[in-house]
Symmetry: C2
Subunit: 494 residues, 2 copies
């Protein structure tokens, strides 16, 4: 392809044959610059190759000489061309150039081992707002008008300094409002200074892992359990030990023999995800005692504890504990909406300032007008009212789902008690039935989350995690009836 | 402290002496519940201890019997009390309880080794909007009214589905608008599908490290270089090798002897941070060739390349390369404002879908109304106009700073050429002078970032990184004059 010997004939041919400058598309300079750069880069125009005069090129291409000169200036500035006194421009001597070849294949070891594991965990995301998607709140019942009015006002009155980088671990007003709420409603022991606002709970998990663990340290997680938190631990290089959940949640007595002492224990004691059980106080105290003895930290993920239908919300584990051993993590994704991306950490006193500092360095902070609107939403009672309304709506939505599934239940389908939360767990008879139902549901536009995906070890159980909060009663009756019939039709699947 | 033998006398004393129920503060039930829970938890009320009757307690405390009963119900529900038929309530038998002791000290090995290193990197954050803060754009010149109008409209017309979890790697309209911009202005080779929108560039760095490296893998970074990216690599467990920057940016020929083959190389080729040099094409090609030969990835951080004052913006490294080896990272923090928290990745084709999936799992996505407003801001030309206006404003601001520092320059202060970007680098004579100026400036309310903090190895040079974009001309003249005088007063510091 190299035509060093033919003077500028090749480039004239190439320009005439391969460059078709069009008005109105890209600027003409761009249209001329790109092929020239590529020819040089790919060695089609070799080092030392002399270019035709700008006048000649302009004539050939039917553009102004200024256009050609602008392109030459840029190629000169980039070092791709060199000017030789009196002899015009020629192609610079460059290191062996990279060639883009049609045969180039993706690198064989493209992802790291951690990357491949993470991608394995990332296959379970539902893509859309459909019946039974777990963890999705009632977006249809969210007071959007009210919220948007607040947002508008808080954007309008936003401090100019809020546009800058922030270093305070969240807007102080939001921390204060949240603190009041957590103390009263969740029996969390805290001061506003202990709170760090994060971009959702995920960022909180990452921050904990990054500051309190080293790569290779062990973290205990619930089995079955929440994949989102597990992904964060994996991403931070931790070794994950799944510990079985019994009717009281994570039970340290059931941990695998010879499991390494953990640095972190991740639990959802108020409402275990996805089994829905609540950890009783004696089991909580045993967990706290273990953590204290082994010097590890407990992460309490209190993701949906606001929604409890029979009794007042269970007080937090953090409130029961010597606070130095429990880090409480919460999110507004369930009580308000996921797209808001606001979560938070309640840290032991002695960690709070350092976490704030590292958070600002690692993740930056922003969107203070939204935090400000949220602070008012909480402080003026909208938040509590919304939670109360949702509690009643979710109770009814759950009842609809139960009604639709009643015939299946009469024939042996086992549903979780549903005292709390935003989903029911349905236990199935076999993995084949699970797979069949998931596949058939998908064809119907219904999201069924198989329970087996919530396990990391081989000790799986078949079932379905049925989110009911995010669908209307009508949709639940309809999808529930479909599921009921599908269950009955498949219950003899081996 | 245990008074098992004294029946309920101790609790009556304790209630009378230590519980002072106040109207209007916390609800009365909370005020009574808390001390009881603590006494049980701390073993002051021992297992088997019988409680006084609810009537007796109500009388003693001057509250209604219903209040007392509500508290007892809660303690029963939590398993802290047990009811014995006919014999009232007694304290449950619990595992050894955790005691909170005044003498409890923070855990000695509180942070991990990674955590301690991260905290070490996190001490350099400026806290406020002051003269010379690097990386802060002109917040005073941002078209807030216009932007807020857009935000309002896009919030009002937001899809309800945007409130849910998102899995598309960013709003498609934003990816399309951004793609057009990057192709034209930055010579980035891309299609919208190659873009993943992140929460600022930091999240982009983390995602790259988490998917393409394992803990312990090597990453090469520029020395001096950007601490924010380094923090992300450290957080992901990478081993950082600083490679010296020369007048053409990171120079692989200067890497330490026996340095391990990297998995990632992080560079700022358009405008090296903080030295301000631009990597010439031959050095770019040498870097690309090295990456191709050693099978590592190049991260191109193109944080402020829009602001170039003499020549058109330098085309991106990504556009020059076989795209499979370069991952391009950009941010709106410099061209719009940091609090916006929007950055992006331009990925090689074969990585884009997997990165999107892992991003949704690890970090979630949200704030689509803001992304939607930003898409319009770009598509309708506001963005380009803003960049053009800022380019002219920053040129003037830089000129002000140079004017103020002219006497010092005449006496030997060396300033970087300032062809581009939002800061100047001032080289100093000694570290003592650097430390002295930083300290004195801080007392004046001026942020001086010492150049020595941008080094990881011991081969440091003294200097100051002077951000000029975020301050008004008047503020720059004033702070610049102060700095000029302070420089002259300290230039003989050994």
């Amino acid at each position: 392809m190299k035509r060093r010997d033919t003077g500028s004939a090749w480039i004239i041919d190439a320009l005439a044959l391969r460059v078709d400058l069009k008005k109105g598309a890209l600027p003409l300079t761009q249209q001329l610059y790109r092929p020239l750069k590529e020819w040089i880069q790919h060695g089609e125009l070799a080092a030392g190759q002399v270019l035709p005069s700008s006048r000649h090129m302009a004539q050939l291409l039917g553009v102004s000489r200024n256009t050609v000169l602008a392109v030459m200036d840029r190629l000169l500035a980039e070092g791709l061309l060199v000017a030789r006194q009196g002899a015009g421009l020629y192609v610079a001597q460059l290191p062996t150039l990279l060639r883009r070849s049609a045969a180039s294949t993706p690198r064989p070891t493209c992802y790291s081992s951690r990357g491949n594991t993470l991608l394995g965990l990332s296959s379970t995301l539902s893509n859309g707002y459909r019946a039974f998607s777990p963890g999705v709140p009632a977006l249809d019942l969210f007071p959007r008008e009210q919220w948007q009015r607040l947002l508008r006002r808080h954007y309008r009155h936003a401090d100019m300094s809020w546009m800058d980088y922030q270093t305070s671990g969240g807007l102080p007003e939001l921390k204060a409002a949240l603190c009041d709420y957590l103390r009263l409603s969740r029996a969390v022991r805290c001061q506003p200074e202990q709170i760090v606002i994060t971009q959702g709970a995920q960022q909180a998990f990452e921050l904990i892992a990054q500051l309190l663990t080293d790569s290779g340290d062990a973290v205990w997680v619930e089995e079955p359990g929440y994949g989102g938190a597990q992904a964060c631990f994996l991403a931070s290089g931790l070794a994950i030990t799944p510990v079985p959940v019994d009717k009281g949640g994570l039970n340290i007595a059931l941990r695998p023999a010879h499991s390494p002492t953990p640095r972190l224990i991740y639990v959802t004691p108020s409402h275990q995800y996805p089994t829905g059980v609540t950890m009783p106080v004696p089991q909580r105290l045993a967990l706290l005692e273990f953590a204290s003895r082994s010097g590890c930290w407990i992460i309490e993920d209190d993701y949906d504890s606001e929604f409890r239908y029979d009794t007042p919300p269970t007080p937090s584990l953090q409130g029961l504990a010597d606070q130095a051993s429990v880090i409480y993590v919460g999110t507004f994704s369930k009580v308000l909406y996921p797209g808001l991306r606001i979560g938070y950490l309640v840290l032991p006193d002695e960690l709070a300032a350092d976490f704030t500092r590292a958070h600002a360095r690692l993740h930056r902070e922003g969107n203070y007008p939204i935090q400000s609107a949220l602070a008012e939403f909480i402080a003026n009672g909208h938040f509590t009212r919304h939670v109360t309304r949702m509690r009643s709506a979710y109770r009814q939505r759950q009842a609809c789902l139960r009604t639709a599934l009643a015939p299946a239940v009469a024939k042996g389908l086992r549903l979780s008690d549903g005292h709390a939360g935003m989903h029911l767990l349905a236990e199935l008879n076999s993995f084949d039935q699970e797979a069949l139902l998931v596949k058939r549901a998908n064809d119907e536009g219904i999201t069924l989350s198989p329970l087996s995906r919530y396990y990391l070890s081989e000790h799986k159980r078949p079932g379905l995690v049925l989110g009911y909060a995010g669908s209307t009663e009508q949709a639940l009756l309809q999808a529930g009836t479909w599921l009921n019939d599908a269950y009955l039709a498949t219950r003899d699947t081996p």
